[in-house]
Amino acid sequence: MAHQGEPTKLRWGELDEDDGEDLDFLLPPRQVIGPDDNGIKKVIEYKFDEDGNKVKITTTMRTRKLANARLSKRAVERRSWPKFGDAVHEDVGSRLTMVSTEEILLERPKPLGSKTEEPKTAGDPLAQFQKGAVLMVCRTCGKKGDHWTSRCPYKDLAPPSEGFVDKPAASDAAAATAGATKGAYVPPGMRAGAERTGGSDMRRRNDENSVRVTNLSEDTREPDLLELFRPFGPVSRVYVAIDQKTAMSRGFGFVNFVNREDAQRAISKLNGYGYDNLILRVEWATPRAN
């Protein structure tokens, strides 16, 4: 009887009937999953929201250390030296030392070294791909046969200038010796040692092996086209036109084959092929490309 004035207070004697379902008022304890190798720490908390529902909140944090300081014994002693000179009057809020707000990277110059690959591919630059491997050139890091530009693991590198789309053989020494008398900017194509005629030949040849694919479904992307056309031979480039606003395919794209015969076979085989509920139309990119 003394308890009737306090309806919210539970008595342990009344809890017998249910097997702990009435313990809903209790929240599970807060869990902290400590920082793992990547420095990621998770904290899982539970609380009641306004409607009385139990809510689980997971907070994932990553702590990043700017630097590791492993100090020798004497260095540790020096850490506790009193300040002297101008530093004596330093208030805690003095902005003398501050961490930069920008992330600064070691910016690589043009596509990195295929210097070692140059002598090998002196004759036919595409000879090594006769086995039918895909000639994938990543524009960001210049590695061949590994990944496409969009899948580059070194995405954060400064992208190279336009002149280097498919010139994996560009010499790095060209970047170092700018050679301009005034110290003004020298475009990569005009620097000493820059490949000019060779590169454009390769590109033109590739563009002549360009195949246009139309009537693509909305969600077709480059990897899909690559997968579809790869069986016919090494592909140097795929492109799907994407509408910037809706992020959907505009229904057409281009595939550049390394070899002309492969492009011809692809056209014959895939024209009229049913892909993702639509009939594809596959033809030469420039009419009557000869």
């Binding site: 700017l66 630097a67 590791n68 300081a69 100090l71 020798s72 004497r74 260095a75 020096r78 850490r79 030296w81 300040k83 002297f84 000179g85 101008d86 530093a87 004596v88 330093e90 902005r95 003398l96 030392t97 501050m98 961490v99 930069s100 920008e102 992330e103 600064i104 990277l105 070691l106 910016e107 690589r108 110059p109 990195l112 070294g113 210097k115 790095d172 020494a173 970047a175 170092a176 010796t177 700018a178 301009a180 005034k182 110290g183 003004a184 900017y185």
Partner: protein, 326 residues
Amino acid sequence: MRPILMKGHERPLTFLKYNRDGDLLFSCAKDHNPTVWFADNGERLGTYHGHNGAVWCCDVSRDSGRLITGSADQTAKLWNVQTGQQLFTFNFDSPARSVDFSVGDKLAVITTDPFMELPSAIHVKRIAKDPTEQTGESVLLIKGPQGRINRAIWGPLNRTIISAGEDAVIRIWDSETGKLLKESDKESGHKKTVTSLAKSSDGSHFLTGSLDKSARLWDTRTLTLIKTYVTERPVNAVAMSPLLDHVVLGGGQDASAVTTTDHRAGKFEAKFYDKILQEEIGGVKGHFGPINALAFNPDGKSFSSGGEDGYVRLHHFDPDYFNIKI
């Protein structure tokens, strides 16, 4: 990486030096007070007051107890690193440009500029363990090079002194007799003033940077030219990584190019080159003015650069830096 910016100096930086343990960074600038910072977080420890002119160079003893600085006020001073107290002043008749402790810290080489009729000279002074016994007398005095000597350091085992300066010739002198042992070849050497010199961590080779937009790597004993690194800008400062085979060059801008190139903020960069392949690996931008000083932490995991803008930028490398492949 996120560089730590330290703005303790109001005038351009002239020199940066880490102590041997890599926990202190000493900076010299054209304002008259060299400063010491903690090398991990950039916190300032103190400043040394006493010079009346731009401080051009400094060196710290191996136990990080003594600091020697050379200044344009025609003196070189010895300081107690911990307290900031001046221990001794060496007086000269012309501005002191470069200072370097010998291995063992018993001697120091100090160079002085040509001034009025006085030619440039290299002085070797004895450093006493007890500062009260310190005298200003020279052990050796070498005169001879034409033009300013920008940097002079001790060779292996203190047997030689290597000097480089305005006449673009690198000279090796015997440290006991003062005789000229070797000179760099005029044809293969620098064409313009040599601004900076950095020894490798084992002392077997050293790097010189010059206003002729190149840096050259030389063998210490034979003074043969090993490598050449070419840039687009005059080189003001050079440093070698003690850990990887990297060479860093910091430079400025040709006076003639100042008006024709646009002065975008933060555009001056420290360029990294592969030491052996002579190829550029990359650049670290950020300074608002030409870079005048570069130094690598002895553990190789961080480096700092000082610029004409008065900032010292302390960079701790990201793990990717150690995996760079050419």
